[in-house]
């Protein structure tokens, strides 16, 4: 069984035994053979021993904590042309300003037609008693403002689009 990953921005290819049980196993990471002993203690909590070195591995959403340090990763489907992370990247084309968390819109700092600079504040939303200014991902023209002051927004909602 083969797993394609992007770890800390690097593409990796990991081959695991067809039936992954925990215990001793041989794995291949980018062509390199690694004899590992893995043991899942709880869902998402694993003890991984390689040549005597023991790693405490905790799965946390889109990253793995190893010995307390966080490493971002994502699983890539090789058939898709690009990993999720890179979706909609690049300065070309329209870019959306999305709400990073649920909240309420307290200020709108731009209107359709404005020319905005990269990292210029375009909207302020409040959540958990804190006001957070969202910035434009690129320089360009505001082509859409999807919300108004007082609106409640959900995580990921598109707020503003810059062309």
């Amino acid at each position: 069984m083969t797993v394609w990953l992007e770890v800390e921005g690097k593409k990796r290819r990991v081959e695991l035994p067809s039936s992954v049980l925990d215990g001793a196993m041989e794995c291949i990471v980018d062509g390199k053979l690694i004899a590992a002993n893995a043991r899942m203690l709880q869902p998402g909590i694993m003890s991984l021993v390689i040549e005597g070195r023991q790693y405490r591995c905790v799965l946390d959403g889109d990253s793995v904590l190893i010995d307390g340090r966080r490493f971002a990763f994502e699983v890539n489907d090789p058939r898709s042309l690009q990993g999720r992370r890179s979706a909609g990247r690049g300065a070309a084309g329209p870019r959306a300003v999305k709400a990073p968390m649920p909240g309420r819109v307290v200020r709108v700092l731009t209107v359709v037609g404005d020319e905005v600079a990269e990292q210029q504040g375009v909207i302020v939303i409040e959540a958990m008693k804190m006001q957070n200014e969202l910035k434009s991902p690129k320089a360009g023209k505001v082509v859409r403002v999807a919300v108004a002051v007082g609106d409640t927004v959900g995580a990921g909602d598109v707020l503003v689009v810059v062309e």
Binding site: V14, G23, C27, I45, I66, D67, G68, V75, P102, M128
Partner: protein, 502 residues
């Protein structure tokens, strides 16, 4: 005069509500929890003897509804209310309403709250108590003109502050006259929005000050103790992030002088119960009165660890009318305590709040670790309230040992499903300036402005890739435990059945 307290209503939520409930349990007192619709499954409800719903999630419709809370107290037969911090804790009207209803408010009398709660009135009291304070206007400013005049007298840079404020709301630093007018308007309107009062005053800006505060406990018989200081200079957006006791720069003499000044102020206002006097301390060890918090503070545990006392139990005994059981010379500090405020926020993304479902919670433990945790795996952190999840406190013989103990505990801690600031603490606690106690209220902002240090790679890339692959492939199911000894797995099976019975 002695009053008995047998049932306490806790007019708060989260870890502090649980903290108060635990103190009541240990004293044999019954507890009444109140909760909003968002908090039915909160820990403070689960641990209370009684629980009543206040209403919708929005604080203004639940935890700030003093009228409802007082009704519940009366109907449930509670004879006292503990307000915790925030919400109604510094609301003099609520304290009065309690008194009028014959319910003991576990905190200072409304009169003392009024004097010391308003920053401008408190500054007048401080002057009367011959307490050093930052030069500036004592009363609120009435106009930009007045602001300019005062600023000219004391000299720039100056700081504008909301009279009714706190937590940095309505604050503006101004370094030159031309910027003052705009800053004054901004500060005043922000204060209006935040506290319902646009009153703003102005004082000299102290360069690189430390924020150091004195914990007080006063009884109603004229007794008042200072329980050492707390170092709270590590702040972001004027919000405390890490607190310590004692402060690395406060010696016996300075502690005594600050403590006695704080006691003078409290007694001058007829203060009773727990309170905190905040000071700015400059590099020459001059201290300036900043403000007084007329309530229990978030960071009270570090004081409990170095003094060996229980501040909440002391609060309740004082509220029962008991005199303080110890004298100032019996207050002894031992060891060093550090508190990290674990927040649901994303340090890698502009500290955006990160509410949501906690899918995994692995709590640290062992020697010298205390945790006041308000959450659990399966709890959904609501959007409506302060993002604090837990207070992790490390206690050890020395500051260095406490820092290393905290780093050890943070390494054990895992919170899944939401983003937290645990990584930020690891960065701070490993920073040379913090470890050398070279900190002031601007320290953290400067640290964050710099690039994050690259920790030396202790984990090979291949291992990270393999771990990620295994964790995602093994999925969240615990696979058949090949290594288990026979009887163990037999028991495992039995255990699983039992878990699924009937």
């Amino acid at each position: 005069m002695r009053r008995t307290i047998q049932k306490v209503l806790i007019a708060n939520r989260g870890e502090i509500a649980l903290r108060v409930i635990r103190a009541c349990r240990e004293m044999g007192l019954r507890t009444v929890a109140v909760y909003s619709d968002a908090d039915r499954a909160a820990l403070h409800v689960l641990h209370a003897d009684e629980a009543y719903c206040l209403g919708p999630a929005l604080a203004s419709e639940s935890y700030l509804r003093g009228d409802l809370i007082l009704d519940i107290a009366l109907q449930s037969g509670a004879d006292a209310i503990h307000p915790g911090y925030g919400f109604l804790s510094e609301n003099a009207e609520f304290a009065e309403a309690c008194a009028a209803a014959g319910i003991i408010f576990i905190g200072p009398p409304a009169s003392a709250m009024r004097v010391l709660g308003s920053k401008t009135k408190a500054r007048q009291a401080a002057d009367a108590a011959a307490m050093p304070r930052v030069p500036g206007s004592v009363t609120g400013l009435t106009s930009t003109q007045e602001a300019l005049r005062v600023a000219a007298e004391i000299g720039y840079p100056v700081m504008l502050k909301a009279a009714a404020g706190g937590g940095g709301k309505g604050m503006r630093a101004v370094s030159a006259p031309e910027d003052l007018a705009a800053a004054y308007v901004a500060a005043s309107s922000e204060a209006e929005r935040s506290f319902g009062s646009g009153e703003v005053y102005l004082e000299k800006l102290i360069e690189r000050p430390r924020h150091i505060e004195i914990q007080l406990m006063a009884d109603e018989h004229g007794g008042c103790l200072y329980l050492g200081e707390r170092e709270c200079s590590v702040q972001r957006r004027h919000q405390k992030v890490i607190e310590e006791a004692p402060s690395a720069v406060v010696g016996e003499d300075l502690r005594r002088r600050m403590g006695e000044a704080a006691v003078r102020l409290a007694l001058s206002a007829g203060y009773v119960n727990a309170g905190t006097v905040e000071f700015l301390v400059d590099s020459a060890e001059n201290f300036y009165f900043l403000e007084m918090n007329t309530r229990l503070q978030v960071e009270h545990p570090v004081t409990e660890l170095v003094t060996g006392l229980d501040l909440v139990q002391m609060q309740i005994r004082v509220a029962m009318g008991e005199p303080l059981a110890m004298k100032q010379e019996q207050v002894r500090l031992r060891g060093h305590a550090i508190e990290c405020r674990i927040y649901a926020e994303d340090p890698d993304n502009n500290f955006f709040p990160s509410p949501g479902l906690i899918t995994r919670l692995v709590r640290p433990g062992g020697p010298g670790i205390r945790e006041d945790c308000g959450v659990y795996a399966g709890w959904t952190v609501p959007l409506e309230y302060d993002p604090m999840l837990s207070k992790l406190v490390a206690f050890a013989q020395t500051r260095e040992m406490a820092i290393d103990r905290m780093l050890r505990a943070l390494g054990e801690y895992a919170i899944g499903g939401i983003k937290t600031n645990i990584g930020l603490f690891r960065r701070i606690l490993q920073d040379a300036d913090f470890r050398a106690a070279r900190i002031d209220t601007g320290y953290l902002e400067r640290l964050l402005a710099g690039a994050a240090p690259v920790e030396e790679a202790t984990v090979p890339e291949d291992v990270v890739a393999l771990a990620a692959a295994l964790l995602t492939s093994l999925g969240t199911e615990r696979p058949p435990a090949a290594n288990d000894s026979a009887p163990a797995s037999k028991w495992a099976a039995a255990g699983r059945q039992e878990e699924l019975r009937p």
